[in-house]
């Protein structure tokens, strides 16, 4: 299943946030969206996931939802969004409970996703006992449990310290290598974008428009933190965005 954004625009009151965004998200690829603060990245992702309605334009699913998929468009949130009163297992069960699954099926799914995210030993832990990196792994496991057609990730690593971020990037690559998933990955971090994106969509300052789409051909598994090609791509992106990042940073917020 692909996704297609057709001329999407949106405003909050007088504040124009997105302007004529058209984009194709092909199956099995990771599309990264980067852009300065407040340019509407999160808004765009909420729209893709059906959590918000665009004022203009359409967001279309192209093709059928694959079989066995319990929740086609599945989010991974920046702040993990784990229920603090449920254990690791309970948090995953949460999203399976509304579907008619036998206890055996639920058990099977949970064991599977826990082992894929290397969490089997933490099944009965409460979120408060876990480090940030582990929490985000649980959120990933939960997302995988519904077998999503598209994973929508809004800065999933930005709440983590940089060492944990490095570890989780590796995990994401491994997960994708094992079973390629479609994903829209919003980030501020150009390093993450060049490490994980098959294509990188650069948005302008608010109102967000697409400035450029950078494709990276290197297979994910071959990219690593000190590859010179990636460094070059990252520098190129930074040159594109630097001035707008400065401007976005210096803007007074309306509160």
């Amino acid at each position: 299943m692909d996704l297609k954004l057709d001329n999407v625009s949106h405003s909050y009151g007088d504040l124009e946030v997105l302007q004529n965004v058209s984009l194709d998200i092909p199956e099995g690829k990771i599309v990264c969206i980067v852009g300065p603060s407040g340019c509407g990245k999160s808004t765009l992702l909420r729209m893709i996931g059906g959590l918000e309605q665009p004022q203009k334009g359409k967001i279309l699913q192209v093709g059928d939802v694959p079989k066995g998929c319990l929740n086609a468009l599945t989010y991974v949130f920046q702040d993990f969004a784990l229920l603090p009163w449920r254990t690791v297992e309970g948090n995953i069960k949460l999203v399976l409970e509304d579907h008619r699954l036998t206890a055996g099926q639920v058990e099977e799914i949970i064991s599977d996703v826990l082992s894929r995210t290397k969490l089997s030993d933490f099944r009965t832990a409460l979120p408060k006992q876990l480090s940030g990196g582990m929490k985000q792994r649980v959120a990933l496991a939960r997302a995988l449990a519904v077998n999503p057609a598209v994973m929508l990730m809004d800065e999933p690593l930005s709440a983590l310290d940089s060492q944990t971020r490095e570890l989780l990037m590796g995990d994401l690559v491994a997960l994708w290598e094992r079973a390629p998933f479609t994903s829209v990955y919003v980030t501020h971090n150009l390093n993450e974008a060049v490490r994980l994106g098959h294509s990188i969509v650069v948005l302008s300052r608010r109102p967000g428009r697409i400035r450029e789409i950078v494709e990276i051909d290197i297979p994910l598994a071959d990219r690593n933190s000190s590859s010179i090609n990636l460094e070059r791509k990252q520098s190129q992106l930074w040159q594109l965005m630097r001035d707008e990042a400065i401007a976005a940073d210096q803007e007074l917020l309306i509160v």
Binding site: G49, I59, L60, V62, L73
Partner: protein, 274 residues
């Protein structure tokens, strides 16, 4: 592809709009509803009492209560009752709240004070003030002092609890920051702890002042000639429902006004809040 809401096919592919599943869980203000609920409730009561479906024993006719209020106002008695009540409210809750804030801050800052005073406050809290009325006469006499004392005692304990909770909630990194710049103890308390505790203190005041209004009636059991509480008590002892409800309506309006006032104060003092 003209109809965006249904599945359409082109090039053998199914196009389907992503369905919306967000929204809700974020109440929007609807100002007129509150007013209309009030008005329709009162109208309903008016009709039911006039028709006799609700007997005059159970509930007065709302318009009669209204006219009673008007009469009270025109006779000048309204002011005569309101003035002493307001002054009792202001003086009593001022004493109670300011003492409460001081004690609350001391509890918030010093382990010893906390250990000694918190259980005491917890034990005083559930004591009903009306049970102590006879003693208040002995302790504070029958003049304004006893009324002030009763309202002050009633507002003191909840203010203490709210204040030390607020001090506890002051961001400790801000305090560490102050220490890291070697600010004096007084500077830290005055410039960091106090403003940081302000939001909690104000929302505590909201409750304390509501309690003060409630205690007005108890306070005016003690030798009060005039006062909204005395007015209500007298109406109650004569089973005069119109005047009873008129008095209650005044207290209710007073409560809403006090709450609005605190809302205003919050807007002014806490405009730095996100």
């Amino acid at each position: 592809m003209s109809n965006t809401n249904n599945a359409t096919t082109s090039n053998n592919k199914v196009f389907k709009t992503v369905i919306f599943r967000g929204g809700g869980y974020s109440p929007k203000p609807l100002a007129w509803v509150g007013l209309s609920v009030f008005i329709s409730l009162i109208l309903m009561l008016e009709v039911l009492t006039r028709a006799g479906i609700i007997t005059s024993l159970t509930m007065p006719i709302p318009s009669d209560v209204f006219w009673t209020l008007i009469e009270l106002w025109q006779s000048g008695l309204l002011f005569k009752h309101l003035a002493p009540s307001l002054s009792r409210l202001v003086v009593g809750s001022f004493i109670g709240c300011s003492f409460g804030i001081c004690v609350g801050i001391i509890i918030g800052l010093f382990s010893l004070a906390r250990a000694g005073l918190v259980p005491l406050v917890a034990a005083i809290f559930p004591i009903p003030k009306i049970a102590l009325l006879p003693l208040f006469v002995i302790w504070f006499g029958i003049d304004e002092t006893s009324k002030y004392a009763l309202i002050a005692l009633g507002t003191f304990t909840p203010t203490v609890v709210a204040t030390y909770g607020a001090v506890d909630n002051v961001d400790r990194t801000l305090i560490r920051m102050g220490q890291s710049y070697s600010l004096s103890w007084m500077s830290i308390v005055r410039k960091i702890v106090l403003p940081g505790a302000m939001p909690g203190v104000l929302s505590g005041l909201r409750i304390s002042l509501a309690i003060a209004i409630i205690l007005l009636v108890a306070a005016e059991m003690l030798g009060a000639e005039y006062g909204i509480g005395a007015y209500i008590l007298q109406a109650g002892s004569l089973y005069d429902l119109e005047r009873l409800f008129a008095g209650v309506a005044i207290l209710s309006v007073l409560g809403v006004l006090v709450s609005a006032m605190i809302g205003l104060l919050e807007k002014i003092l806490l405009k730095w809040r996100v």
